[in-house]
């Protein structure tokens, strides 16, 4: 009875209860929500206030407002003028959409195979999916450099088995293909787990009933299994799509100079050009782009709770 705890919470005010809510609430307001307001404000200010990193002469709030007396949309205008930014955003979206699709293509059969495995084997399979997730993201991307390099292990393998001449090389390192491989590799557990949990709790008698009513297995999959796993598909897709759009490490380490992704552009703007207001504007636009997917993800999570 959900209503029981509701009325209880409402009826008995208690300092301990308030402590439980207020402490994490304030922490998140200060360190998660407030920064978004600041980033928005800075994005409207002029480049002049941008201080190079590591020069701790940035004054407090009062002085800041002095600096940013001239709030305008200059930075946003600049984003529309230089085709680099628009291209970066579009390219990020393209890469995120394609890789989410690839992840579904690989992750769905894998999750389905896990859900159909003998029940005694399932916990081990789940652990095997989670285990790479516990090892560093950076390390896992790094591992691919040695494989994909022109003089790397993939070339060596193909030469050894004779699919490639001794002077030929695999030339996918520092291209979009390498980025796709890196993304699929890194995000596969995030796609598989929500799919698996949706597929695993599916009642097997539904398929038996379908079969009993004369529905062949492949049709039963599209008419029963897939529609019922849609919440998992949406959750997995959002969990992958949103962070991939802002991905920095993978395009930076595996992608080429022509691999445009907005995370990389933001990083360069911030660390390379030290243009903080412009970097902030880039971040704000990215955030606005992701508002809808994030809302979908939140709704999905709430349904689970």
């Amino acid at each position: 009875m959900a209503s029981v705890s509701e009325t209880q919470a409402a009826n008995t005010p208690n300092p301990a209860r308030w402590f439980v809510v207020v402490v994490p609430y304030l922490w998140l307001l200060l360190f998660f929500t407030a920064p978004f307001l600041i980033i928005f404000k800075i994005s409207l200010s002029d480049t002049a206030i941008a201080m190079p990193p590591y020069t701790p002469v940035f004054p407090g709030f009062g002085a800041i407002s002095g600096y940013i007396s001239k709030l305008d949309f200059e930075n946003y205008l600049f984003l529309t003028e230089d085709p680099l930014y628009i291209k970066s955003y579009l390219s990020s979206l393209r890469i995120a959409v394609i890789s989410t699709f690839l992840l579904l293509l690989i992750g769905y059969p894998m999750a389905l195979a896990m859900a159909r495995a003998p029940i005694t084997l399932r916990p081990t399979l789940v652990m095997l999916v989670i285990l790479p997730f516990w090892t560093s993201f950076l390390i896992r991307v790094y591992a691919w450099i040695g494989i994909l390099k022109p003089d790397g292990l993939l070339t060596l393998l193909l030469q050894t088995i004779g699919l490639m001449g001794p002077n030929e090389q695999v030339l996918i390192f520092r291209t979009d293909i390498a980025v796709f491989i890196g993304i699929v590799y890194s995000y596969l557990p995030f796609m598989v787990l929500p799919l698996y949990s949706a597929l695993e709790k599916m009642d097997n008698t539904l398929l038996e009933a379908a079969s009993d009513l004369g529905c062949p297995p492949w049709k039963a999959f599209w008419k029963i299994t897939f529609p019922l796993s849609l919440p998992g598909v949406i959750a997995g897709s959002m969990i992958c799509f949103i962070p991939i759009t802002g991905e920095f490490v993978i395009p930076d380490l595996l992608g080429g100079a022509d691999t445009l992704m907005i995370g990389k552009t933001l990083w360069t703007e911030f660390f390379g050009n030290r243009d903080w207001p412009l970097a902030s504007a880039v971040a704000v636009v990215l955030l606005i782009m992701l508002v809808v997917p994030i809302m979908i993800f939140q709704n999905q999570q709430k349904k689970v709770v």
């Binding site: 705890s5 919470a9 409402a10 439980v20 809510v21 994490p24 609430y25 998140l28 307001l29 360190f31 998660f32 929500t33 920064p35 978004f36 600041i38 201080m51 590591y54 940035f58 004054p59 407090g60 709030f61 690989i106 195979a113 159909r116 495995a117 652990m127 999916v129 285990l131 790479p132 516990w134 090892t135 560093s136 993201f137 950076l138 390390i139 896992r140 790094y142 591992a143 040695g146 494989i147 390099k149 003089d151 790397g152 070339t155 060596l156 590799y185 959002m238 962070p243 759009t245 802002g246 380490l253 995370g263 933001l266 911030f270 903080w276 970097a279 971040a283 990215l286 994030i294 999570q301």
Partner: protein
């Protein structure tokens, strides 16, 4: 049984895809040759150079301290957040609160990192060890909240009511009944928070300062210069560290599971 053979093939291919790169990385950390494609025999020399690399060791120490501190803080805050979400169906701003818990899970790291940096700058806080720790606490607490929340949702509230009924005040009930029973989830949350902190490059890069270079930042700066067996060595140690931790944790849960099953057998025999 055609589908089961298909399933086995899919699983084999996918797990090979997931594990082969890591295995190669580990194997080549023991390579005497400096070249990735040439096997020069077994050697531990890269572990020795790694050990004597002071910059790397300093970074490892910073990372460990940030990890323990932020994981601990994040676990406390995340557990409180999970309690708020599960136990209080209504309070002002609950929508915003649950939004703030879920959003960091998917928020691109560049956005989180940059926005937090701007906060520290606005508050005139020097960046360094503490800013990285606070940043890590903020995003790890959300993961802890999710882990603990899922345990709390299956928690039998009548256990707490029984304690209250027997004269135990609410706060003491939490420490004597609730906490001991959700402890496995809290520990799992801590471990997750610790590894996430250990792992993070982007948020740490934005929020770090002089003298607070973490291991991922160090590794990243070296990786950009190319693949070296020394990095393979430190990666291998990190992987080994985490793998042992995860395996130990799963063995201990398996053992408690086994004990539970055995206990139930005892109980059944007791009745007949």
């Amino acid at each position: 049984m055609k589908s089961s053979r298909f399933d086995a093939t899919v699983l084999t291919l996918c797990f090979a895809f997931l594990y082969i790169p890591i295995i190669i990385l580990v194997v080549y950390s023991f390579n005497a040759s400096k070249l990735v494609t040439v096997w020069g025999g077994f050697s531990l020399q890269w572990y020795r150079t790694m050990w004597s690399n002071e910059g790397l060791m300093d970074a490892a120490w910073v990372t460990a301290r940030v990890g323990v501190l932020s994981a601990t803080l994040g676990t406390v805050l995340g557990t409180l957040a999970a309690l708020s979400l599960v136990r209080f169906q209504k309070f002002p701003g609950r929508m915003l609160f649950s939004g703030m818990i879920y959003a960091p899970l998917v928020m691109p790291e560049v956005i989180t990192g940059l926005s937090m940096l701007l906060l520290f700058v606005a508050l005139n806080i020097d960046r360094g060890f503490w800013t990285v720790t606070i940043a890590h606490t903020t995003f790890t607490m959300c993961y802890v909240a999710i882990v603990v929340q899922s345990r709390l949702m299956t928690f039998d509230r009548s256990l707490e009511e029984a304690a209250l009924d027997l004269g135990c005040p609410p706060v003491r009930t939490f420490f004597k009944i609730t906490l001991p029973l959700i402890l496995p989830a809290v520990i799992a949350g801590w471990m997750l928070a610790f590894t996430l902190s250990l792992d993070d490059l982007v948020i740490a890069s934005f929020n770090t300062g002089p003298g607070a270079t973490t291991l991922p930042i160090k590794i990243y700066s070296q990786v950009r210069l190319g693949v070296t067996p020394e990095i393979n060595a430190i990666c291998t140690i990190l992987i080994g560290f985490v793998t042992i931790g995860v395996i130990l944790a799963s063995i201990s849960t398996k053992r408690t599971e086994l004990r539970r099953i055995r206990d139930e057998h005892v109980a059944l025999r007791g009745t007949t």
